[in-house]
């Protein structure tokens, strides 16, 4: 799937992969690739500005942690991030149902 059509949904997808546990950037991108079955086609570098934007919005909280002797910036969902994710899910379900009804799928 091309990056242009994903751009509007990237924030919600990032929030979703962080729902269960805090992850660092590379692990977030791996989780996105795994959950999308490898169909997510966007330069991985563009995920980092999205993480910073979500952090500025207060949806994510980051901290530097040490993993196997290497420092990594780890992100976790904040309370507002969980609320935002729930809202995005509801919106997406309504949207996909509406488009599906119109397309007759």
């Amino acid at each position: 799937m091309k990056s242009e059509s994903l751009r509007g949904h990237l924030d919600a997808m990032i929030l979703a992969v962080l729902e269960d546990e805090p992850l660092h950037g590379y692990a977030i991108i791996e989780a996105l690739a795994r959950r999308s079955g490898g169909r997510l086609d966007l330069p991985t570098g563009t995920v980092y500005p999205a993480l910073r934007r979500l952090e500025a919005a207060g949806h994510l909280v980051s901290s530097w942690s040490e993993e196997t002797g290497r420092r990594r910036r780890t992100y976790r969902l904040s309370r507002s991030g969980r609320k935002e994710l729930a809202g995005r899910r509801t919106e997406w379900q309504a949207f996909s149902r509406m488009v599906g009804d119109v397309l007759g799928t």
């Binding site: 910073r52 919005a57 910036r73 507002s80």
Partner: protein
């Protein structure tokens, strides 16, 4: 992979990675701390991705090249990083302006002992500085929010950063002009008045303007 193998792999892939990161860092403008942490995250990512490709069976050089290619070219990635930097810089500028403006009501509080200077021009400037001060405070508050938590409702991009910078420069210049003129027209030429103007208007606005110029450069 053993620790020794990991270290050897990281050393040998460093050429490709370093070249990419140097090029990325050179293309970015903005707050040093944010810039460093963004480039550090990119470096961490490339390291992790390269090791994952090596563990999947690629040779070290190919793995590093693949990691860099997946990350995106500097031309693709840098504009996104640059927006993050511009907004971070704008947020800092807006917070600086807000801090400067919060102390202004105390600076402009009339000294009953000194009395208020006569003259229509002074009265106009006095009203003007109050209105400008309130407007600047509201402007800085809204822009600081827009560049931070406001991202919940709309994406603060480079246009918001540019607006913050230009607004800060223009309103700062207006405040300095009014402040200096009011001091000239004010009660005598007391050294204390000029010290207050310098300490609470000229120096802080100069700092804010410098930050605004850096924000413009980051846009």
């Amino acid at each position: 992979m053993t620790t020794r193998g990991r270290v050897r792999t990281m050393e040998s892939m460093s050429d490709v990675r370093t070249e990419y990161l140097t090029s990325l860092a050179a293309s970015l403008r903005g707050p040093r701390r944010v810039r460093r942490s963004l480039v550090q995250e990119a470096s961490d990512h490339l390291e992790d991705a390269t090791l994952a490709h090596v563990e999947a069976g690629l040779d070290e050089h190919t793995a590093a090249c693949r990691a860099v290619a997946d990350f995106g070219t500097v031309d693709e990635v840098a504009p996104h990083f640059q927006t993050t930097l511009a907004v971070a810089s704008a947020r800092r500028t807006a917070l600086m302006l807000l801090t400067v403006m919060l102390v202004q009501p105390f600076v402009w509080d009339d000294d009953p002992a000194a009395g208020r200077p006569d003259g229509a021009l002074y009265a106009v400037l006095d009203t003007g500085v109050e209105a400008l001060g309130m407007a600047m405070m509201a402007f800085a508050f809204v822009l600081a929010l827009a560049c931070g938590i406001g991202n919940r409702w709309f994406l603060a991009g480079r246009s918001v950063a540019r607006l913050t910078a230009v607004g800060s420069l223009v309103s700062g210049a207006a405040l300095v002009a009014i402040g200096v003129l009011m001091t000239v027209l004010g009660n005598g030429q007391r050294l204390l008045d000029w010290v207050l103007v310098a300490a609470f208007i000229l120096v802080p606005i100069a700092g804010t303007s410098l930050s605004a110029r850096r924000t413009l450069a980051a846009c």
